[in-house]
Amino acid sequence: MTNGKKVALALLFFWFCLVIWAAFFYAPRAVGFKGESARIVFFHVPQAWVAVLAFCVNLVASLRFLRHRRLLDDARAAAAARLGLLFAVLATVSGSLFAKVMWGSFWNWDPREISIAILLLVYAAYFALRQAVNDPERRGSLAAAYAILAFVTMPFLVFVVPRIYWSLHPDTIISAQGTVNVQMEPRMFQVLLGSVLGFSGLFWWLYSLEVRLARLNLWREHGGE
């Protein structure tokens, strides 16, 4: 590992310590929530954000694979999907814990819960498809086609369904009228943004590790790209 990477990793670690401290001691207690349950938002929202970010990275890598036919791009798409699945599971678990405390049930069939459940299903189906194809190039193109097809349906789930059905979740930052709608105490908003930044950094670090591993595997199997 180069010195620059070591510094970046140390900074990420320090940043996460700061976010965890700020989530519990800097951000004020939210009004209208049971106990300290609202503090989970500083971890739940960034996890969901990273799951969507991973989906976008998967899309870009899939498009690159279809354009250049490099197996490394397919490996990048698979790495992003793997991490997206992990963060989607974490977001689902943290959201369910909050739902149990606030509303007495782990699952309430809220439109946002349905969105994340479908995102999980899409990722699971993506890997089921990958396992069903033996030829690496065909696996790459079929998985890329499915990922792109799945991606175009996601805006309907993320933006349309929550606006048609009543939701337990608060209104989105960009409202149905197109206005920016931030109703969060400034210190809470700062911690949330810091956490989003930290989780995004964590994603990129894990993603770069996965891609390095995939590059080594490809080099071992095919003698380089």
Partner: protein, 217 residues
Amino acid sequence: MFRKEVVSELRSRVAISSVGLFALTTLVAVAYQIGPYRIHEQDRPHLQAALLWIILFFGASSGLPRVFVKEEDAHTAKTLRLAARPGAVLVGKFLFNLLLLLGLEGFLVPLFGVFMGFAPRNLLALLLVLVAGAVGLAACATMVAAIISRATGSSTLFVVLAVPLVLPLLVFLIQGTRMAATTPDLTAIGPALQAVSSLTGVTLVTSGFLFPVVWHD
């Protein structure tokens, strides 16, 4: 391509009989266990709309992937790749799946009305939702069928891959059907119909771009 599909299906009748029988069996099981009287009056439109689309989708899922799977199984896919342009293949298979779905709806929805006591307040609204649903499901299912036909274990893979993609569509279709069952106002199905049409449009356009890659790989 469309004519070839219809002639080929009329010879074997595999898709027609599997889709029809699977949907009928599911309907009979649901109607026997639930029926119209075990659901509260106020819950009927919501539950019946959901049950109708679940039966339609799962009934159709036994026949929709066949359009591509049968070409791979019969080793005719290579000839088809040489004989026809990818666009023509996609449109032909899509139209055949659309016809299959419309046929299934024509057969199943009246039976669903009889067995489940389902009576829409606005028949035109229901017809519009059913046609929009058939187009949307056919668009999505045709592309997924093309993808899975190139993989092993394709028959089980179809449902795994198609369900996450059609779920948003089913959400809007169920909402539209519920509206058609509860209100005589035709405009009430507007939002659901708009969402279904946009989702179908996006799926069709994306499929148009992706199909040549999937088909020739």
